[in-house]
């Protein structure tokens, strides 16, 4: 079966590779690009550990072919910190103890990036609905909710200063 040439911009850098069409995006990221921050939990589209942004929208990279991302922009957990500064969400998970083993964290953060992009001032209910596709076996979610609230407040405060 024929391979395909894909060009995918990952965290701002464009990578061109010949791939088998059946290669999943998560394997492209982890194995072809050595970006192992994106995790594989369930491999059945249920846990959200593999969540990345595709043109700004959160998707499960275990359920998307790399060829489907051709010509698009992908953002992974490795791409959210800017200029050596943690993203407010990363800072929030650290400050509010939003992780224990950390396995779900990259997916949680990437999902929360889109959540706050669409809804900068979410209620607790919005956050819980918003992360309903991400499973955490450790924290009980309470501190994950607090971490996202922390980031929302910080990002709004920063926005207010800029305005």
């Amino acid at each position: 079966m024929a391979t395909r040439t894909v060009s995918i911009t990952v965290n701002g850098e464009t990578h061109t590779r010949d791939v088998e069409p059946r290669l999943l995006l998560v394997h492209f990221l982890r194995e072809n690009l050595d970006l192992t921050g994106t995790h594989i939990g369930c491999d059945t589209s249920n846990c959200g550990a593999c969540t990345v942004l595709l043109d700004g929208k959160s998707i499960k990279s275990c359920t998307l072919l790399a060829v489907q991302a051709h010509g698009k922009a992908v953002t992974t957990i490795e791409g959210v910190a800017q200029g050596g500064q943690l993203h407010p969400l990363q800072e929030g998970f650290k400050e509010k103890h939003g992780l224990q083993c950390g396995f779900c964290t990259p997916g949680m953060v990437m999902r929360a990036v889109e959540l706050l992009d669409k809804n900068p001032d979410p209620t607790e209910d919005d956050i819980r609905w918003g992360i309903s596709g991400n499973l955490c076996r450790c924290t009980g979610y309470v501190n994950i909710v607090k971490a996202i609230q922390y980031a929302a407040e910080k990002m709004q405060a920063e926005e207010a200063v800029e305005a």
Partner: protein
């Protein structure tokens, strides 16, 4: 889990997609959101030799009001429907349904056309489309045809679509004034497929009489079920407590659930009765504004 090998095609027009489908027939599968197809391919429950990705064809994602219908392009994503002011205002039942499907990441990719074309009795949109009296438009080598949803779900994972046909649009008649609808779903956890789901749509005239009723059931048979006896029981009635109870009983009788991890046959049938009554109550409240 990795799918079996396949060749990947990216047509840029419907004509090109149709000729690929004619060339490869049963060996080919259309890919839109991939949220049902890719999990099946990873489990090797499906091993198509050719994947025809429709996402590069422009003009297949839209939501618009036209000729007394809400028309939705087959490649419209769940997330786009969730944010549509038109759907929120005119078809609250559809807004209810979308919100209960899977999770935000799956809804960013999953399409309305794929949800119907998959023919999965566990999918939520089929029941809602049955309650709303929708029809789908398909294009094939011999041109275009409209298929009422009542004729669309033929068997387990089998629809009226031919292998060389593409579903392009869903057409929902705009409910007349005095209408309301609601979708309720019992699930083990957020994002799960339904243990049972009920879509109810009613129209009430100025005297308080029910002039039209549509009821669709999710995941309680090998196909999505239209509860026609329950609908007939409501038409012409004043939607009293007794009317609702009897209709709910008829809907439960129309279901053919099987016992599985989500519950026993008896339990699911009982839940259809409970959910039908509650969905009707919410639909009636919305119809009365």
């Amino acid at each position: 889990m990795i799918p079996a090998p396949f060749d990947y095609h990216t047509p840029s027009s419907l004509d090109e997609a149709l000729s690929l489908l004619q060339e490869y027939g049963y060996e080919a599968k259309i890919l839109t959101g991939g949220q049902s197809l890719l999990p099946m391919m990873k489990l090797r429950l499906a091993e198509p030799e050719h994947i025809i990705d429709l996402n590069g064809i422009p003009g297949l994602a839209y939501i618009r009001e036209e000729d007394g219908h809400v028309k939705i392009g087959a490649l419209t994503r769940e997330a786009e429907m969730e944010e549509s002011a038109l759907i929120r205002a005119k078809l609250p039942i559809l807004h209810d349904t979308g919100k209960l499907i899977a999770d935000p990441q799956v809804r960013n990719l999953g399409t309305l056309g794929g949800n119907l074309a998959h023919g999965d009795p566990g999918n939520d949109h089929p029941a809602t489309m049955l309650a709303l009296g929708a029809r789908v438009v398909a294009i094939g080598p011999n041109g275009q045809r409209a298929i009422p949803v009542t004729e669309f779900f033929v068997d387990f994972y089998t629809t009226a679509l031919e292998p060389e046909e593409i579903l392009t649009e869903i057409q929902i008649p705009l409910p007349p004034p005095g209408s309301g609808g609601a979708y309720l779903k019992l699930e083990r956890k957020v994002g799960d497929y339904a243990t049972a789901g009920v879509a109810a749509q009613v129209t009430i005239d100025a005297t308080g009489r029910c002039t039209e009723a549509g009821i669709g059931l999710t995941n309680v048979s090998y196909v999505p079920v239209k509860a026609t006896d329950a609908e007939a029981r409501l038409r012409g009635s004043t939607l009293s407590e007794v009317d609702l109870n009897e209709a709910a009983g008829l809907a439960a009788a129309a279901s053919r659930p099987s016992s599985d991890l989500r519950g026993s046959e008896e339990y699911k049938r009982a839940m259809v009765r409970v959910l039908t009554k509650r969905a009707l109550q919410r639909a009636i409240a919305r119809a009365r504004g």
